[in-house]
């Protein structure tokens, strides 16, 4: 590893900043009182964030396309979830589909 001090400083920056993000949302919320409607919107905003996270982690790698195997697995998991399959089955089916497709040579 190159400069240990600098790397530790980077890690500390990342750790402290991440904690600040985790804290500041709550502090803001405690200071400002929102009407219930806005509270619902904020909760919906979390669902939108998570949906975007699903889409980007399933379909992209870096700045490009992740290949077909991973999104196909996630899609199978999503369909099973929509049909109210057990959680364990959803997770295993997603991983298994992706693994199987890769075994068959799908990127």
């Amino acid at each position: 590893m190159k400069d240990t001090t600098l790397v530790v400083a980077g890690m500390a920056t990342l750790a402290a900043g991440t904690y600040a993000f985790r804290l500041s949302g709550q502090v803001l919320r405690a200071r400002i009182s929102f009407p219930p409607r806005v509270g619902k919107l904020l909760e919906a905003a979390t669902v939108i964030l998570l949906a975007a996270l699903v889409a980007t982690t399933a379909l992209t790698e870096g700045h490009g396309f992740s290949g077909f195997a991973r999104p196909a697995g996630v899609l199978v998991g999503g369909v099973l979830a929509w049909r109210k399959a057990p959680f364990l089955m959803i997770v295993i089916a997603a991983a298994a589909t992706t693994a199987l497709l890769r075994l068959l040579g799908v990127p």
Partner: protein, 245 residues
């Protein structure tokens, strides 16, 4: 619920294995992924940090890139005040600890529960599980190194998105929320080739505007749910985008 959390933590453990293995393979000593996995406790940003520094990037710049990825924790805290807030967990160290446990998994499990006690229980159980499994996986992965380098062969990279998706599906059954979530996902995907990591997901928040416009800003407007709620049922039963399950 606990079994689902255990499955999720196991998935986190496997991703941790690959994280530790990749970190060591990139030339970092064992203590770096070990310390980082406990202190940062946010997987995607740690992968990014390791990747940028290993490629010769400045560690401070790598930290800033990681922070961009982690900025979504701010809206998480904004949306879930009852879970880590002082009125529930007490003040002082419990709130400080609860804050550190905030991550995608603990937030999504809390969100998926119906009442406050269950939300709190899910948040803490999943948060503590991740606190054990993520560093545990990272250390073990760093120790056994390249043996687990290629986790892609087992499809483990499909687990994280599948877990999150499975847990938000109940919310997506509300048509308005589904539309906004799809729009947000599309925005993030379109932006990914052009923006640094983390920003596309934040940009997806623009899709909240769909909900604001569709449901109106006054409490009485937009009672067009498919949940059958009538406007008279309570004082302000407007559109209820989340939790109508």
């Amino acid at each position: 619920m606990l079994r689902d959390i255990a499955v999720t933590c196991l998935a986190v453990f496997f991703i941790g294995l690959s994280y530790g293995a990749i970190a060591v393979a990139s030339g970092f000593p064992l203590w770096l992924p070990a310390a980082q996995s406990v202190l940062v406790l946010a997987g995607a940003s740690e992968f990014l940090f390791i990747g940028i520094v290993a490629a010769g990037g400045n560690p401070i710049a790598a930290a800033l890139a990681g922070l961009l990825v982690n900025a979504r924790h701010l809206p998480y805290g904004l949306a879930l005040p009852d879970i880590t807030g002082p009125e529930v967990t007490g003040r002082g160290w419990r709130q400080m600890a609860g804050t550190h446990l905030m991550n995608d998994e603990s937030v999504v499990f809390a969100l998926a529960q119906d009442d406050l006690p269950r939300k709190r229980a899910a948040y803490w159980a999943c948060g503590l599980g991740v606190l054990i499994c993520w560093p545990g996986g990272a250390v073990l992965g760093a120790l056994i190194g390249s043996a687990v380098h290629d986790t892609g062969a087992f499809g483990l990279d499909a687990m994280f998105p599948a877990v999150i998706l499975a847990l938000i599906v109940p919310d997506l059954r509300t048509r308005l929320t589904l539309r906004a979530a799809l729009a947000g996902a599309a925005i993030a995907l379109i932006a990914t080739p052009f923006l640094p990591a983390g920003l596309p997901v934040l940009l997806a928040l623009v899709a909240v505007l769909l909900l604001v416009r569709s449901s109106g800003v006054t409490p009485e407007a937009g009672a067009t749910t498919d949940t059958g709620a009538t406007p008279e049922a309570d004082g302000k039963s407007g559109e209820c985008p989340v939790g109508a399950r």
